[in-house]
């Protein structure tokens, strides 16, 4: 009956979570917030772009003096400018509103600033003066160089494509680092989203006094595994809901949302790093699940459990504080400790695996350690659940739990 009951538990736990209005409010809050932010970015980005374009191409009534000899009079005229005939009074005339704008180009524009004076047109439109002055210099310089290629080269407007080799094979760059790092994102999302739910779910039988009725119809392992699977499914639904607006934004509004143009087709999914990443993720998930179930079984209420749960979460994410060392100096003592200490191992090892500094032997040791500790934690957790969950309003004494010959 165990398999039938596993399905029943998964269905019950999953359905009752996703049927709750509270779940959808919490789940949809993030994409709705993201959508609002995206819309704001989109609107601001579009208006800023339009304004810049308008400002760049606007014909502005201005006068100028050019000590640098860089400015091309024809370009300046085309942009609405004329050479100032009485520079001594130009600034005064601008002050009095008799002259719209006056630019003073110094002898060496790389050493001295271009002085820009203009009549006030509001905080946003005032930027036009600065934009026109800069554009005038750029266009005049292009005219002098006489080559768009050279101008682009000087401005650094070109791309490079690098290829490195390791052991005779292309070693890849960021394209090989990103795919295994997806497991880090996955691990982070799963634990952050599900940890509290896992704790609450484990405590539920105890808080509702249904443990004995459940334990006489169901093996505790089936119940715990059923809860873990259903929460994983709940997490998948949440991840899907969260990622949908991001995917839509990336595919359809990348330019408007100022999302970096990252060519996904360039990503290289290498078998071994992906396999190691997946195993580290699964091992880490089992370990933390076991620990959370154990905490839930021992503590009488969610509030009590939270005080024990917090240090576990801190331990888990503490490797992020030394992430620069993990990347730049994986041999350092602290990184080595974090790599092999079970609670810090998942994140440290996934990072090192992605950046190529986790060798085969270390990977095997960490994976084995996570699975062994994880399964051990789950086994202990099931035992604690069996006895802890009938200590309804008391904290379970571990000594007593393990003398019950479970």
């Amino acid at each position: 009956m165990a398999r039938h009951n596993l399905g029943t538990v998964v269905q019950f736990e999953f359905t009752r979570t996703v049927k709750k209005r509270r779940f959808w409010i919490a789940t949809l809050a993030i994409p709705v917030l993201l959508a609002i932010v995206f819309v704001l970015v989109f609107v601001s980005s579009s208006s800023a772009q339009n304004r810049t374009e308008q400002q760049k191409n606007q014909s502005l009534d201005f006068s100028y003096t050019d000590a640098s000899q860089l400015i091309d009079p024809a370009v300046a005229t085309a942009m609405g400018g004329r050479v100032e005939t009485s520079p001594g009074t130009a600034v005064e005339r601008v002050k009095e509103g008799k002259l719209n704008a006056y630019f003073s180009f110094p002898a060496t524009i790389t050493k001295e600033p271009v002085l820009v004076y203009g009549t006030d047109q509001g905080i946003f439109k005032n930027g036009t003066y600065d934009a026109v002055a800069k554009q005038l210099v750029i266009l005049s310089a292009q005219e002098k160089v006489g080559s768009a290629e050279l101008t682009a080269a000087v401005q650094g407007n070109f791309s490079t494509e690098a290829q490195t080799f390791k052991d005779g094979q292309p070693s890849g760059g960021l394209e090989t680092v990103v795919p295994p790092l997806l497991f880090l994102v996955l691990f982070y999302v799963v634990i952050i989203l599900l940890a509290n739910q896992m704790l609450a779910s484990t405590l539920e039988e105890k808080e509702n006094r249904v443990t004995e009725m459940i334990l006489t119809t169901l093996d505790p392992t089936t119940l715990v595994v059923g809860k873990v699977i259903s929460l994983f499914l709940v997490g998948a639904v949440q991840a899907l809901v969260f990622s949908t607006p991001m995917l839509l934004g990336y595919v359809f509004f990348r330019g408007q949302l100022a999302i970096p143009d990252f060519d996904l087709s360039a990503l290289q999914f290498q078998f071994l790093p992906m396999l190691v990443g997946a195993l580290l993720f699964i091992g880490g998930f089992i370990l933390f699940t076991g620990v959370l179930v154990g905490i839930g079984a021992v503590m009488p209420t969610a509030k009590d459990a939270a005080s024990v749960f917090a240090p576990v979460m801190i331990m888990m994410f503490v490797p992020f504080y030394v992430v620069t060392l993990v990347v730049s100096d994986p041999g350092s003592m602290i990184v080595q400790v974090f790599t092999y200490f079970p609670f810090t191992a998942p994140i440290t090892a996934i990072l090192r695996n992605a950046f190529g500094s986790l060798n085969g032997v270390s990977a095997v040791i960490v994976i084995a350690e996570l699975f062994v500790f994880g399964l051990l934690a789950l086994r202990v957790a099931v035992h604690l659940f069996r006895y802890g969950s009938i200590e309804y309003s008391r904290k379970l004494s571990l000594r007593r739990a393990f003398t019950k010959k479970g």
Partner: protein
Amino acid sequence: MNAAAPLIHIHDFHIHFGSKKVIEGLSFDVARGETFGFLGSNGSGKTTTIRALLGIYRPTSGTLEINGKVFSDDFGSRLGYLPEERGLYKKESVLDVMTYFGRLKGLSKQNAQAFSRQYLDRVDLVNKADVRVDKLSGGEQQKIQLGVTIMNEPELLILDEPTKGFDPVNRRLLMDIIEERKEAGATVMMVTHQMEEVERLCDRIILLKDGRAEAYGTIDEVQNQFGGRTIKLKYSGNLPTSSHYKVALHETNYAELSVDESIDEAQILKELVLAGVVVRGFVAAKRSLDDIFIQIYGEEVAVGSTGTAPAGNTQGPVK
């Protein structure tokens, strides 16, 4: 499985929690189709025994079997268990909770829902099928609890202090359910402190004290084991003290006297009349279970008793 073999068989059962010996060498059987009373004061080990029988605790040593096997969740589909600590998933609807338990007990979703609706109709809660459990009153939740317990039409019903916290309506419902299951041939094992329920429902009983059996058998056998009788006396005048009886219950113009087996009832009557008591009613009967219970657990229950005096500290026979 031999139909004559007991459904529940417990032999030389010991359970220790650390250095605390909770049960010491307990042995008893529950026959198929009988209603068995499991009695004892608080802390005597009744709930621990049931939990060990149902695999929630593991025994230190001994045999605990249901239907010839150690309990596993496979038998869960044939068991109806109402624990002492009881509750329901409070944030779910009544129908969802009942369907879930029905499915765990091996019913199909359709059958679980059909049973639930039928039961809810019986207890006038059919219009609350989609209401969250925590929105129901305490009494309504008790009804759902009972429904969950019997929804697989169990062949073994284990009830741990079933009337604890029940209002009279639900107590009546529970009694009806027990009668129905008995008529259907189910075996019932119940832990209770309600002696009138035991006398009305139980075929056999066991009395547990400090993890040991104090008495075991049919109600008649237990009454015979402890001997003595109770005289129910209606009278006027002053009730004299006597070495021939103990006053077990004393109200205005009414008393229950515990009398030793060796004392003749006529002698008591004569003694009362000679002392000037006007006897208006005089009925001698075997000692009630209440009386025996108080005798066994006298010192323990006296602290919380409601005026019922202990009838002595004579130890009954131990199996």
